[in-house]
Amino acid sequence: MEIKYDVEVDARGLQCPMPIVNARKTFQTLQSGQTMRVLATDPGSVNDFKGWANMVADAELVAQETIELDGKTVYVHYVRKK
C-alpha cells in the first residue's frame, strides 16, 4: 500500500497505552490535512487506533495494514488530521 504521510511515529516494542499516547503527542503537532504513520508491534493497536480515531474529533483513520519489518509483524496506522 502506497500512502503518503508527513510524519512517522515509531511505537514498535511499546505496549498499551503507549502507542496512542505517543501518537497523540505527534498528532497535536500536525497541520490540518497532514497525515502521520504509526508503526506498532502491539496487535491490540489495530482496534485501539480505530477507537482512538473515533474519539478524536479531528482524526481520520485513513488506512491500516500489517507488514513484516526487520523480521517482525508491524501494524501500520495512517491517521490524517482533518
Partner: protein, 194 residues
C-alpha cells in the same frame, strides 16, 4: 399613500417579529439548559483501591482517555490515597492514625498486588514481568497521566480519618470532597470505581 402603506406593514410585522424573538429566546434558554445537562467528553474515576494492579489499571485507562482527547478526573479515596503518599509523617497524629500510617504503603513503590502478593514478592515479580514486556511502570504511567492533564483529587474526608496531611501527598494534586467527584461524574460519559 405609499408612506401610509409602509406604516401599515410595519405595524403588522412588529407583533409577529416580537413573537418570533420571544420564541428564539425560549429556544435559547432550552438549548442552554440542555447543554448544562449534557455530558462533556469526560471520564471520572474513583480510585478506592491501593493495590498495585488496580491502580495501574486506573492509570492506563486515564492515560488512554487523556490521549484520546478526553478530560479525565481521578478521585483517590481510602486505600487509594496510599498511592499518592510521598513520605511518612507521624507528628500531630493520634495513635490509631500513626499505626495506620506505619502499616500502609508510602507511595506507588510500596503498593502490593491484589492477589499473590506474598509480602511484596508478588509486586516485585509483576513489575519485573511488566519490564520484560515493555510496559511502563506505575510511576511512569502516573507521571504521563499528569503530563496529559489528568486531574487528580485526594479525598479530604479519608485524609482526615487516616490522618494524612496534604504535605505527605504528591505535590500539585487537589483536595476535595464527594461533591467534587459528583460535580465531574455527572458531566462524564463514563464513570469507574476501581
Amino acid at each position: 399613500m405609499i408612506a401610509n402603506g409602509q406604516t401599515a406593514v410595519a405595524d403588522r410585522t412588529t407583533p409577529e417579529l416580537s413573537a418570533l424573538q420571544e420564541q428564539i429566546q425560549q429556544l435559547q434558554a432550552q438549548v442552554d439548559a440542555l447543554r448544562a445537562q449534557s455530558p462533556e467528553n469526560r471520564l471520572s474515576m474513583v480510585v478506592f483501591s491501593g493495590d498495585l494492579d488496580r491502580v495501574l489499571a486506573a492509570f492506563v485507562i486515564a492515560s488512554g482517555a487523556a490521549a484520546s482527547g478526553m478530560e479525565v478526573s481521578m478521585f483517590f479515596t481510602f486505600w487509594g490515597l496510599t498511592a499518592l503518599r510521598q513520605k511518612r509523617e507521624s507528628r500531630g497524629k493520634t495513635l490509631f492514625q500513626k499505626l495506620m500510617g506505619w502499616m500502609t504503603p508510602v507511595g506507588m513503590r510500596g503498593l502490593g498486588v491484589s492477589k499473590m502478593n506474598f509480602g511484596g514478592i508478588g509486586a516485585k515479580m509483576l513489575r519485573a514481568m511488566m519490564r520484560q514486556q515493555g510496559v511502563p511502570q506505575l510511576e511512569e504511567m502516573a507521571q504521563m497521566a499528569r503530563e496529559l492533564g489528568v486531574r487528580i483529587v485526594a479525598c479530604q474526608m479519608s485524609m482526615d480519618v487516616m490522618g494524612l496531611h496534604k504535605e505527605e501527598l504528591l505535590e500539585g494534586i487537589e483536595v476535595g470532597g464527594v461533591a467534587t467527584f459528583l460535580g465531574d461524574a455527572t458531566k462524564s460519559k463514563a464513570t469507574l470505581f476501581i
